[in-house]
Every structure is written in C-alpha cells, then in structure tokens.
Symmetry: C2
Subunit: 432 residues, 2 copies
C-alpha cells in the first residue's frame, strides 16, 4: 500500500499538470478527493485550487485553517485570489487582508469593490503600461528589462501620466513596426476599453465578437484599472451556457457532480416541492371532473396524452427562446414575429397530431366522440404551449426573474392545467 | 423611404463592425434579414458571412449564384472557407476548387480532408514558422519584414527543414530574450502539438486546461499542418454547451431562432411524434387498470402526481449526468458511486414527499388506503427515476447514442410507465 501511495503521489506532483490534477479531483467522489488533496505538494496546491470548480473549491477551503489559507493565497493571481476571498468566512478574509503588503491589498480591494460578475470582478491587475511619446525601440528595450511577461499578454496598454487609458499596442503590431516610430503612431484606438461595471456576460459577447485575447478595464474617469484575459472569459462562457441547462432542471450551474448526499438531497427537495404544487394544481383541475371520468373511464386513460403533448411542444419553444435570450437574439422588438411563428407552427403541428391521436383513440375505444374531443383538446393545448413558451421568457425577464429557472415549472403548470381542463371540460359538455 | 434606406445602409457599412452586422442579421426575422443582406457592401459580405451561425449562413449561401459564392470565397480565411464549402451544393464546391490557385487549393484540400469536428477541420494554415538555429535577433528582423502578422499570433512555430514541428516560441518570451541567444535555446517544448485527428471537444478541453491562445496542429508524421486559435475554440465551447440544452428539447444546436415556419414545423413534428409513442405507452399502462379507476375515480385525479414527481426527479439526475459527461467527470469507474448517491437521495426525498402527498391525499379524499398507496408508488417511482437518470446516460453513451437527445424521452417513458403501473397496480391489489 505504501508503494501505491508513493506512486500516486509521484504521478500527482511530477507527471500531471495542475489542471490535470484538478480535473482528477473533480471527477472523484468525496473520500478519494480528500485523499488526493492530501497527497499533493504544498507548492502546487494553489495552482490546483484555482483550476477547481466553485463548489469543490469552497469545500476544500472550508476544511483549511487560516494559516493554510494564507499560505495558498500568496501563490494566487489577484483575480483568482479575489474569487477565493468571496468563498471564505468573514474572519479568515479579514486576517488575510491584514497579512498582505500594502500594494497587494490595495489591488485586491480594488477588485473586491466590484461584484464578481462584472468586468471589475473578472479583471487582473498585471498590466504592462507604456507612455505614448516613446519610440517602439525604447518600448522594446523596456520590455527586455522584464524577466518574463504575464501570461496572455498580447497588447501593451498606452496610458497618460495620470494613468488614463489612451490606446493599445498589440505585440504583433509592435514587432512589424519601424523601431523609430512612436508608440502614439502605432497604437490602436478603435477598440474602446471595457468599463469596470460591465456585466460579465456582456464582456464575453464582446470578446467573442471582436476575437479578443485581452482587453483593458477602466473606471468611470477612464483610468486603467486592469485587464481581462480570454481564459477567464472562457470560464464565463462555459458557466453562462451551463446556466440555462442546469437551471431548467432546477440545478445550480456550480453544482458539483459528486456533491455529498445531504447537500444533494436538500437542493433537490426544494425543486421537487415546487413542482409538487404544480402537480396538485393539475390534480385539482382533474378533480373538478370526477363525475365525468366516473362515467367515461377512457378519459382517464387518454388525458395524459393531451398534457404531455402540450408539455413537449411548450418546452421546445421555451428552450429556443431561452437560448435566443442568452445569445441576445430575442428582444421585445421581434417578440411579435416569434409569437406569430410559434402560433402557426403550433396550429400546424396541433392539427397533424390531433388527427393522428383522434384516429387511434377512435379505433381503441370504438367511440367517435372521444376522438373529436381529444383532437380539439390537443389543438387548444398546443396553442397554449406556443403562447406560454414564447411569452413566459419575455415576461419573466422583464420582471427580473430568471426564465431558465422559473420558466419550465410555470410552463408545465400551464400546459397541464389547460390540457386537462380542455379535454375533461369538452368531455363533460359532450357526454352529459 | 429612400432616405431611411440610405441611413440604414450607412449604419450597416460605416458605423457597425462586421460582427455587429452579423448579430443584427441573426436577430432579425427572415424578411428583414434579406433586406439587411441586400444593403451591405460587397467588401464586407465575407466578413459578415463568417460571423453568422451555420443555419443562417447556409440559408444565405443557398440564395447566391456560383459567381457570387466565388467572389465571397476570395475574402475568407482558409478554415472559414472550408466550413463554408461543407454547406455548398456539390457542383458549386467543385467550381470553387477549380477557380482557386494551386497553393490555396492545396491548403483547402488539406483542411477538407479532415472531418469538420476534428483539430484538422478547425485549423487555419496561417502559421509563421522559423528555424531553430537562427538567433532571436534574426527572428525579430524576419518578423519586421512582414507588413502585418496574422490575428491571434502569440507564438512562432519552430520547424525543421522538413517542416517537422520542434517547438514554439511565444512572442512574450521572444521579447524578453537576449537577442544573441538562439531560437532553440529560447523555444518551449513542453506542450505537445495537437494531432490533426483529435476531436474538437478534446481540443477545447486542452485549450481550457492549458490557457492557450493558439496551438500547432501536426499530422501523424509530426509535420506542421496549421494552427488552431482560441476564437475558433470558443465557438466549439459555445456549441458544445448549447448542444446538451438544445438536444434535451429535441432541437438542433445550430437551430436558427428565426427559422421559417415550414422548417420549424417539420423539425418539431418529428420530436412530437417520438414523444407521442411514449405518451401512448403510458396510456396503455393506465388502460390495464380501467376497471379499478372506474371503481375509485380518485385514482385518476392523483395519478399524474406520481408520474410527475418521478419525471422531475429523474430529469434532475439526467441533467447532472449529461453535464458531468460533457465535462469529462462521469466515467464507468465512478458510476457506482453516483448510482449509490442517487439511490440514497431518491430514497430520502421519496420518503419526505411521499409523506407530504399521503397526508394531503388522505385529507382530500378521506381515505387512508389511497394515502398508503400513493406514498408507496412515489417511493418506488423516485427509485426508478434515480436508477434511470444515472444509468441511461452511461448505457446510451456506451452504445454510441447521444444521451442528451435520447435520454429525456426514454427517462419520461420509464417514470411514466413505472409511476402509473406502481400506483394503479397497488390500487388494484388494495381495492379488490
């Protein structure tokens, strides 16, 4: 066993990169996770930690004492440190701030003063700045005095004496420039800097549209605060895209695949409880028609079909709308077109599948009436599904509620209630 | 009206960037789209086109004649051109290949020989290569002979006389090196090049883990073929993340938010048809117990609750597993742990909500038996949901079927059938 541990320890510390160790930890159940963490060297702990997902990271941090946290914090980049701080208990956070030197504390407090999901919270302070009036040759000499440049440095930022952002000098441009020309002549100024309070999803869109590698961040006065790099933006894109998927199932996008039993049970219980209210609402609607069902039991057999068709059709529309909102395609101005398209699509598919279901129902129960009733109910419910699927995301967003989280529950409530009410209501009318 | 058009034309061609024009086109319904496209200048058509989503791009391409396609192709980068080629009719594609000069055709055919979803299909051929034995100073002089360097050039690739990849020289490293040292001394060799047949999702993981901006692509003999840049990788990440969300609703991740009515109706009809089979299966199960329902109509009122709780619990597990697979966390080796966790969570939540539902049902229908029956049925169905939610993605993936696409339909089938069967079966036993 000793030998096996030594082997694992060697692999973790010598063969794998920190990102690979982090991946290994993330895909291990809790017990192995703690074992793996205990086997890695102090020197790579910080590197591994910052590659971990939020849920896993805070689990590991919560098990450390203050001095361990302090040791790790020294090896982190400022933006990662700021992220980590937000997951620490208040007391540890203050101790950590006290322990830092003046310059680092100031930098960190600057980042911490912006919410985590803004450009300010995303930025790092490792910018390389130059003045506009020096020559390219002087700039090159200045760079050569550095032992190394920060990762992902693709541009130098040109600032005034008062640190006001003026422009960027891409390294690729610097390398093909005449050495005697000045920075001012060669810098680019057509890409405006990012304001520190811009939302992180907006920053991601900008990076995607402009194919950026790094971008300067400025405050309201135009002073250079730091820079955002594509690696952090990729995390935003990944989380943002995961958000819709996970929220629609009532899960958190940071949710750890291997979260412990009690944590998982608690989170899931809430969602089941909310959905139970929906289910009881549907039951209550069915309860209104108990008498009719007692007379025609075939109704009980067929009624889930009406609700299910509405739910499926509606969730297709809802998903398309939610993705459209995330991509910035769906706005009030084109909501009318979308609603119109969905109503027509709902009508066409409603008629098609209403006919199919009607024929099967008539043959199954040897009853023409039930065929007519279910056909009408399906068409009505697909209309309701198109309407709810299109409008819910728009209305919820306008009210500041996340459509991905609340949309699917509300949609199912609507398609269940409308479906059961239309089907059983029509039946009560026809069979009495 | 003339004036309004002139205004729009000016905005499209002078004020907005190509990526912004593309975004504007994507968020417009078909008719406005065609109008917008007709208003943009020939010179920016190619730039706009390559920023568009696949669905929109092929719609616009399908309306062009061969000479228009040829004109646009000249302005595209090789990897974008290769992407476009795959959406053209066979005849136009051959014409296009014939019209190109030898060097460009060869480059393009190299990319086209790899599937679109591999490193080879993703790469571009605009690499800057140098030899290992020259000095940094000579390399800098060589660079200065270029009018400009390709976008996203963060490294030069070091190759042998036979074009075999040897290492990379990051610009950031080059700029801090002693000019008299050689490229061989300063190049980095610890990051292996990407084989051309690596899957694009694998490439994306590598870029994310290693925080890369660009990476060299090589063939089996180690010859440098081209490079992949982060902007194309971001597209892969975005599409990959969208894939799970869209597939779970039976939608294609390339689906255009503003697809025309007939296209939408057809795509949706298929999914509704598949789900209808599921719904009829559930109905058939209910049909087995028609007699019992005739005796106790309350069963019809409560049965959707059992099915719905199972469906919700199951889709939470399924979503977590599908995301876990996409992140590379879920494998056979840890499936046992996950199944165990989900069964325990299912049992705990099953007991909790079974009690709640039982109490409500007993009060509602003044019937103790129905409370016991529904409690048992809910516990059984949450077990089935946990089992199906965990195992379906693993089994489907092993069979080469996309769990995101087939998982949700199969899961609902299972939770509906098990839910109705358990509830009505138990009822038949207790009430007869």
């Amino acid at each position: 066993e000793e030998g096996a541990f030594r082997q694992i320890r060697y692999t973790l510390n010598k063969t794998l990169r920190p990102s690979e160790v982090a991946h290994l930890i993330e895909k291990s159940p809790p017990k192995e996770r703690r074992l793996l963490w205990s086997l890695i060297h102090k020197d790579i702990e910080a590197d591994v930690l910052q590659e971990l997902g939020d849920d896993v990271k805070s689990e590991i941090l919560s098990k450390m004492n203050t001095s361990e946290v302090l040791a790790i914090s020294e090896a982190l980049e400022t933006d990662d440190l700021a992220d980590m701080m937000q997951q620490l208990p208040e007391t540890v956070m203050h101790e950590l701030l006290r322990s830092m030197d003046h310059q680092n504390r100031e930098r960190l407090e600057k980042i911490l003063s912006y919410p985590e999901d803004t450009a300010g919270g995303l930025m790092n302070t490792d910018t390389i700045t130059i003045r506009p009036d020096i020559t390219i040759e002087a700039a090159l000499r200045y760079l050569r005095r550095h032992a190394e440049l920060p990762d992902m440095t693709d541009s130098l930022f040109v600032v005034s004496r008062k640190d006001t952002y003026i422009g960027s000098l891409p390294l690729t441009r610097m390398l093909v420039s005449d050495p005697s020309s000045t920075v001012r002549e060669m810098m680019v100024t057509d890409k405006p800097p990012i304001p520190a309070d811009m939302e992180d999803t907006q920053v991601a869109k900008l990076f995607e549209q402009e194919d950026l590698v790094s971008a300067p961040v400025v405050d309201e006065e135009g002073q250079l605060l730091g820079r955002i790099t594509i690696d952090d933006v990729v995390d935003v894109i990944r989380e943002d895209a995961d958000h819709s998927l996970m929220s629609m199932a009532g899960l958190d996008e940071d949710e750890d695949t291997f979260a412990p039993i009690m944590k998982t049970t608690r989170r899931r219980a809430v969602w089941l409880g909310i959905n139970l209210i929906t289910a009881f609402l549907a039951s209550a609607v069915i309860g209104l028609f108990e008498e009719t069902i007692g007379k025609v039991v075939a109704l009980a057999v067929l009624m889930p079909i009406v609700a299910s068709m509405g739910g499926i059709a509606g969730s297709q529309v809802l998903t398309l709308m939610i993705r459209g909102q995330a991509l910035g395609h769906v706005e009030r101005s084109n909501a009318g077109w979308l609603l119109n398209r969905e109503m027509v699509v709902g009508a066409l598919n409603g008629i098609l599948w209403a006919l199919v279901v009607a024929v099967i129902a008539i043959i199954w129960f040897q009853d023409l009436t039930i065929g007519i009733i279910i056909a009408c109910a399906i068409i009505i419910n697909l209309f309701a599904a198109a309407l709810a699927g299109t409008m819910l995301p728009i209305v919820l967003k306008a009210w500041g509620i996340d459509p991905a989280l609340a949309g699917s529950v509300l949609l199912t409530t609507i398609t269940d209630v409308v479906g059961f009410f239309a089907f059983l209501g029509l039946a009560t009318f026809f069979y009495s």
